[in-house]
């Protein structure tokens, strides 16, 4: 008895999902557990499994089954139709780029990554420039091929791979709104902030104690330690599949909050992944809905919840319990102000939520110009510095705290940066809707109760998987189309009307 083409496709994707999970574990282990001398061996394992994954996804059998399933789609349920759509999407992306280009890109980015690190260490862009040029050239080819195959403009095709269903035009509209309001908002915020300076938080905070605090907070949040772990790594990240999620953070003994907020950020990702629909967990429709939505979940927890007055109220006794802190600087009011301190700064990952989008706007503008050829790689440092001056009124002293600060372009990740700012936009819009539906949400958080928050998110975001587009999801969850309005309203209220 042979099963239907659709059922066979589900079976194929079950296998692909298992490969996907194995690859994720290999990456997690490489960053967290692997002995340093085993990098070559791991590289070979990753390459072999990735190649096999790609081969399984692009075999003619899959195309044939997709065609037959689509021709016989009557009788399929909604989620199955959505699943079929996502299967086709994954296959289209995989098949649009020839294997030869993928492996050239893999080699080029692996070289570029090494030289990027060295160039950054030496604060010397020239060491990186030829490698970035090679990567830009190959990504340009890839974007053209993807665009052709998907019927999209080249840059849109790159964005769409990371954040499906979002176009450069959508980004332009949103970023325009941000760029119109943020500069003046920053000025006004800084003026108000200067009138009420906050006290610095000094001290030594043993990593072991920070870890205990983080675990207690994660338990309150509802992170299921029987299906996940937290460890330490050089850069915080989330890996795994919805049945086995692994997050990391890093602890700085001079800074009580960087490890905690790093863990909160990753816990936001993890709760999204853990909340994906279990019934579809090995199918494309059961996966997350792209990087913009992923980032919205991490920023919602780290930035909006984790730096709220309510959260500070919940956190204050825990700080006392774990670190026996006392004094005026540890009063909730001062903590809140420290956590929400705004400044014009050079480094994206250290930026506050008011200035952060401007860091992204700059990268978005520059990466589009690099790909179109309007900007040459050698002109990048000056374009970067000029852009920082114009947008944030600060000028990098060199490439290390300028255009060399991020690894993304070295890795060939063009079209990825927008998802950070879109994530902030989505998070604020979801939060606004959530607050109007759950007026008691802040009292709950202040008591360390996160069930209301994640119940709402599970219903309106996590539990949908990839069944609807981000735009549909936002319309359904908030009653409004995706726009920058809620973020600007949120920032305006937080930093001006209810200024800390």
């Amino acid at each position: 008895m042979s099963s239907t083409p659709y059922v066979q496709l589900e079976q194929e994707w079950r296998r692909l999902h298992a490969f996907h999970g194995a690859l994720s574990l290999l990456r997690w282990d490489a960053a967290v557990m692997m002995p340093k001398g085993s990098a070559d061996v791991r590289g070979e394992q990753l390459a072999a499994l990735e190649t096999e994954y790609h081969a399984l996804l692009t075999t003619p059998k899959i195309t044939r089954l997709l065609d037959r399933a689509q021709a016989n789609s009557q009788g399929l349920e909604d989620w199955q139709l959505a699943n079929l759509h996502e299967m086709r999407r994954q296959r289209d992306y995989a098949i649009a780029t020839p294997v030869s280009l993928i492996s050239r890109l893999a080699r080029a980015t692996s070289r570029a990554e090494v030289h990027w690190a060295e160039a950054r260490r030496q604060n010397n862009f020239d060491l990186f420039a030829p490698h970035l040029e090679e990567v830009v050239h190959l990504v340009r080819d890839k974007a053209a091929l993807l665009g052709q195959a998907l019927g999209l403009p080249p840059y849109d095709a790159l964005v769409d791979e990371f954040s499906p269903g979002i176009s450069a035009a959508d980004i332009d509209t949103i970023f325009k709104a941000l760029s119109r309001r943020l500069p003046s908002l920053i000025r006004e915020t800084l003026t108000l902030q200067a009138q009420r300076p906050s006290l610095p938080l000094t001290g030594k905070f043993a990593p072991g104690k920070q870890r205990a605090l983080v675990i207690e907070v994660m338990r309150s949040i509802g992170f299921p330690f029987d299906r996940g772990r937290i460890d330490e790594s050089e850069h915080p990240f989330t890996e795994g599949v919805s049945g086995d999620i692994r997050i990391t953070t890093r602890f700085d003994s001079a800074d009580l909050f960087s490890g905690l907020l790093g863990a909160m950020h990753e816990t936001g990702h993890a709760m999204y992944d853990l909340g994906l629909p279990q019934a579809w967990r090995d199918q494309p429709v059961g996966r997350d809905r792209g990087m913009a939505l992923e980032e919205s979940q991490s920023l919602l927890l780290e930035m909006i919840v984790g730096r709220s007055r309510a959260f500070v109220q919940y956190l204050r006794p825990l700080l006392e319990k774990h670190f026996a802190v006392s004094g005026a600087e540890w009063e909730p009011d001062n903590l809140y102000r420290r956590l929400n301190n705004v400044q014009r700064s050079l480094i994206r990952v250290d930026a506050d939520e008011v200035t952060y989008p401007l860091h992204i706007l700059l990268r978005y503008e520059l990466e589009k110009k690099l790909l179109s050829g309007e900007l040459a790689v050698r002109e990048l440092p000056e374009a970067w510095n000029a852009g920082m001056e114009q947008r944030l009124e600060v000028r990098p002293s060199g490439a290390a705290d300028g255009c060399l600060q991020d690894i993304h372009w070295a890795l060939g990740s063009f079209g990825y940066f927008p998802s950070y700012a879109l994530g902030a936009v989505i998070a604020a819009q979801l939060w606004e809707s959530l607050r109007s539906h759950l007026p008691e949400i802040e009292q709950q958080i202040a008591r360390g109760e996160f069930g209301g928050l994640f119940g709402w998110l599970r219903e309106h975001v996590h539990g949908l998987g990839a069944k609807v587009t981000v735009k549909e999801l936002m319309k359904d969850a908030t009653g409004q189309p995706l726009s920058a309005t809620a973020l600007l309203r949120y920032l305006d209220n937080k930093y001006l009307e209810a200024a800390p």
Copy 2:
């Protein structure tokens, strides 16, 4: 330009090796790091990768390439011919058993494992019997098919899979010699031992400190921590590939030696795997030469070296340093006697090196009878108990410390047990030869210098990979054919002539 069939085969095996390493990491992680609730997800990943591995190994393309490479083997170097032989061997084993039988066996053993654990907990063999019957039935089919394909008697085919080139007739000869001498040797040893009782080692030994001791010992031994790790798990094991080896042990705070000797045992495996020829590390000829040789390397380090007077001399100051022990019971002489205490006991894994082979002889005899049908599964407990009385003069109180103590049969591992006793035989024969070539070896070990030991092993054992058979290796390394003589001489000397 197309490469030769042989070169293409090397390429195919490079990929298989990467899969093999990924599978090994998935198993390591499951035992050491994985959250408990993620077992199902991991099971799916393992099954998918194992299925793919099997498919890649049994594809007609491999057979075609093997045939063509063998028809054109002139010009290949010795190691390449050996490699070709090992490739064919792997493929023959993989193809001899139909996928349907493999998956029936996988399901049956996975059920049997669960019921074995429960039956052992309840000390009730009946709970396990029907599942063991199913496994025996399927393994019998597998053995018949393997035997047919390889031109071997069925049981020999099972042994050959674990320990290539060793036949049941070889085992019979060796085991007969052991069974002729060991009973009287045990009696004489126990008589001597009773005349000079040793003092028990009591105390509490914090696992953290035990770990520090183990790591110091492993560093002396030369374990390369840049290509390996040690962690803790319920049962000690070694996983990984030669570029990334992971061992585990477990610490008992009431017993200072179980954790250390467990780690020594696994370090023996690890040093073998790490010493395999690097130039062939992703080829079959670069793999270990089967379980008997593997076990010889772990037993050589744990039993022969780790319980020698020389090692005790090296260890004594470390015990003082890490645990500040003092008193008569911690004097080298008493330590040596405690480490080499002989007793007739029920449990294989706790047995000393004199009685240990008899535990194996019993299992060997019984598993052959189970497979041939001469012994029914329901008769196993009584046959076990009678065998223990006859061989070791002790009788289990129930199945839990009788025929339910080992997991091997539940997992379908028939033909595996002999490798433990063969390992002891090989270890003693290698040690005898090593001592005659390096008369200063014991003084070196007493000083904590292990370079001489591993230099010799690398030259005569580790560095050969799978290029020669175990029998050839033993002839070359020791000048003698593989036999029980050296082990009996070693035991005789250690426990009688130079009795502790």
